[in-house]
């Protein structure tokens, strides 16, 4: 017993001196892997985009330069402004719908399902669509919504409408529908998480104070669910703002989004213009996230 203790002390006393590594160096070494990963895969690409956005270009190549032309072109064009407006419209509608639907799904899961097993089962059911890719889930709407699709043919056969509804597919409606479908889970998950953390005795305490069901919802549950709603909003807003495939597929090319505009510029080899656009979009999205974080304090959730 004593021998072990002494040898332990001996080692403990000796090791730092023999290695002679100062504490600051050890700390930096521990942080190195993360710095490398973030540096190569996050900071470097963003810096590249930022640098390229000031370059010159023509149909044949890119020329290192320092021009603000890409920015003045982008911000000076009414097409850009219209596209931004359109993207913001999709974002706002999708955000509002996913927030409402996501909250109620999470609320139902958290407060109306009694057993934890059932809660987990139903929550997993919510994630099942995510086992297939985004594109496939989107495309699967086409046979449902198309001119001769499931919805139209059913409605015609039931005699409710005389001819197919045209705006079901390849329209803003279809874009929003697909976006809500794709993104609601990003709202459900964080809200479900915050709702599950609400102490159930708070709800009893509210009832003890004479609160009705809707008063409890408005005065206790909603304020306490705000951090989850903010996190979900950040997910949905950033995803929808950067979306190009949903808009392209579901609008049949009739609607545009900022990311779609960038994709088109890239296919025309106008990389610096796309880069400038990307920087502007990044700033806009960061401002939106900052606005959300200003309204709601999410630190408690992290």
């Amino acid at each position: 017993m004593t021998a072990i203790a002494t040898s332990g002390e001996f080692k403990a006393g000796k090791t730092p001196r023999s290695l002679a590594a100062p504490h600051w160096l050890i700390a930096y070494l521990q942080a190195t892997p993360l710095i490398l990963i973030l540096g190569f895969f996050f900071i470097l690409p963003i810096l590249t985009i930022f640098v390229v956005s000031f370059w010159d270009y023509d149909f044949a190549g890119l020329y290192p330069d320092f021009l603000t032309m890409n920015y003045t072109d982008t911000l000076g064009s009414w097409v850009t402004w219209k596209t931004y407006l359109n993207t913001l419209k999709f974002t706002a509608i999708t955000w509002a719908l996913t927030l409402v639907i996501g909250f109620w799904v999470a609320y139902f899961l958290a407060f109306h399902i009694r057993t934890t097993t059932m809660q987990m089962v139903l929550f997993l059911v919510c994630t099942v669509p995510f086992l297939t890719s985004n594109i496939i889930r989107m495309i699967s709407w086409i046979p449902v919504l198309g001119r001769n699709g499931l919805v139209n043919s059913t409605l015609i056969e039931l005699g409710i409408i005389p001819e197919p509804i045209e705006w079901l597919l390849y329209s803003d409606f279809a874009v929003v529908l697909a976006m809500v479908h794709l993104n609601t889970l990003f709202m459900v998950t964080p809200i479900f998480n915050t709702l599950m953390r609400i102490d159930r005795s708070l709800i009893e305490a509210a009832r003890d104070c004479g609160a009705t069901g809707s008063q409890i919802l408005w005065n206790v549950i909603l304020p306490l669910a705000k951090p989850g709603m903010a996190i979900g909003s950040i997910f949905v807003v950033t995803l929808v703002m950067a979306d190009f495939s949903t808009v392209q597929v579901m609008s049949g090319g009739q609607s545009a989004s900022v990311a779609l505009m960038m994709k088109n510029q890239m296919s025309l080899l106008q990389y610096p213009a796309a880069a400038a656009n990307a920087v502007v979009l990044l700033i806009v999205v960061l401002l939106m996230v900052a606005a959300i974080l200003r309204v709601v304090d999410i630190r408690k959730e992290l």
Binding site: S201, E204, D208, C209, N219, V220, P223
Partner: protein
């Protein structure tokens, strides 16, 4: 300030699926008294409190508060207010809004409800913290706010679910005194659930001891201490040693019983029958460590543990079918003639320190 209400519990049961948490209990809690529900965890004391509060439905039976049967009333309509174990303060509201919450739910306008809440906080000496959030408060402060929130509805009865269990030992004793003082000032009925014998003894006018969903005894603290009704109460309160055996002889009102190990003991009791099982209780602080004058008022055992407690010494003895027969000696008595573990000891007591313990008719 307020009117107190008598709480009348009439053969109330609580059944969860196939398990019965509370077995048809009946109890009258006098208006303006401090009542403590005491028992081990899972004994049904919290279920009973929650049924009084209206947070748990009553499977059968009725609860009356004052002159109203409140069995089917929602919590806020009963004239009761509940203080929750973890206080359940709303973390997103400051203290003023926490206390004013029930007034807000009633639709009282902002200035009026805030003024009233501030008054309530003043009563609890918490007005200096009115704009803080609950998370910025200590446990004792949170409890005062929870009390203020419960009392702002001007209840006839305040229901407290283990209110002191979240506090450290020193604060526990201080808040205990505050609760008692508050109850005296307000004059309303307090029903307090606890698992601490000491807390119940210190606070209660009426102690209700529960076990397995039944009331074992409901009496004044002094009665519970001196005349525990059942073997469970005697063991749970810890001030009596319990010996169990069968009645072998009845002479006038002196009953002789024999424990399975063979020793015989006597107790003064009536209404016993030869051959029936019987439990007796012997006050731990009345047992002497000297040979018995009468064989049936003592036994020989072996000391298994000695615990020094300052003013007293607790000695545990094995013998007479009990492996934790406890003797509490004053320190002076102990050090005059000390014992150590493994020593043989003769124990004796007087006939008047032995009490018969009843059994619940199941």
């Amino acid at each position: 300030m307020s009117k107190a209400a008598e709480i009348d519990i009439a053969s109330v049961s609580k059944i969860y699926g196939t398990t019965t948490a509370v077995h048809a209990i009946s109890l009258k809690i006098p208006a303006g008294s401090y009542c403590c529900f005491l028992g081990p965890s899972g004994c049904g004391k919290t279920s009973t409190l929650r049924m009084i509060a209206g947070h748990e439905s009553i499977s059968s039976g009725d609860i009356r508060l004052g002159n109203t049967v409140v069995t089917d009333f929602p919590p806020a309509k009963r004239g009761t207010a509940m203080m929750f174990q973890s206080y359940a303060l709303f973390p997103h509201l400051d203290l003023l809004d926490n206390v004013a919450f029930s007034l807000k739910m009633k639709g009282v306008d902002k200035d009026e409800r805030r003024a009233k809440a501030l008054e309530m906080l003043k009563l609890m000496q918490m007005e200096a913290y009115a704009t803080r959030r609950p998370a910025q408060l200590s446990g004792g402060q949170q409890q005062r706010v929870a009390l203020a929130r419960a009392l702002i509805t001007d209840p006839e009865a305040l229901l407290l679910d283990e209110p002191l269990s979240a506090l450290d030992p020193f604060l526990k004793i201080r808040m205990r005194a505050e609760l008692k003082k508050l109850q005296k000032t307000l004059g309303i009925t307090f029903v307090h659930v606890t698992h601490s014998q000491e807390e119940a003894m210190a606070l209660a006018d009426l102690i209700v001891i529960m076990n397995n969903g039944r009331i074992e005894q409901a009496a004044k603290p002094r009665t519970v201490f001196e005349r525990p009704a059942t073997a469970f109460v005697a063991r749970f309160m810890g001030d009596h040693n319990v010996l169990s055996g069968r009645v072998t002889k009845i002479e006038d009102d002196i009953v002789t019983l024999e424990v399975p190990e063979g020793q015989s003991f006597t107790v003064r009791d009536i209404g016993q029958e030869v051959g029936k099982p019987i439990d007796i209780g012997i006050r731990t602080d009345r047992v002497r460590l000297e040979p018995a004058l009468e064989k049936s008022l003592g036994f020989q055992g072996v000391v298994s543990n000695v615990e020094y407690r300052g003013a007293s010494v607790k000695i545990t003895v094995i013998g007479a079918g009990s492996d934790d027969f406890t003797v509490i000696l004053s320190d002076a008595d102990y050090f005059r003639k000390p014992f150590s573990v493994g020593d043989a000891a003769s124990l004796s007591w007087a006939l008047e320190d032995v009490i018969p313990l009843g059994r619940l008719s199941a």
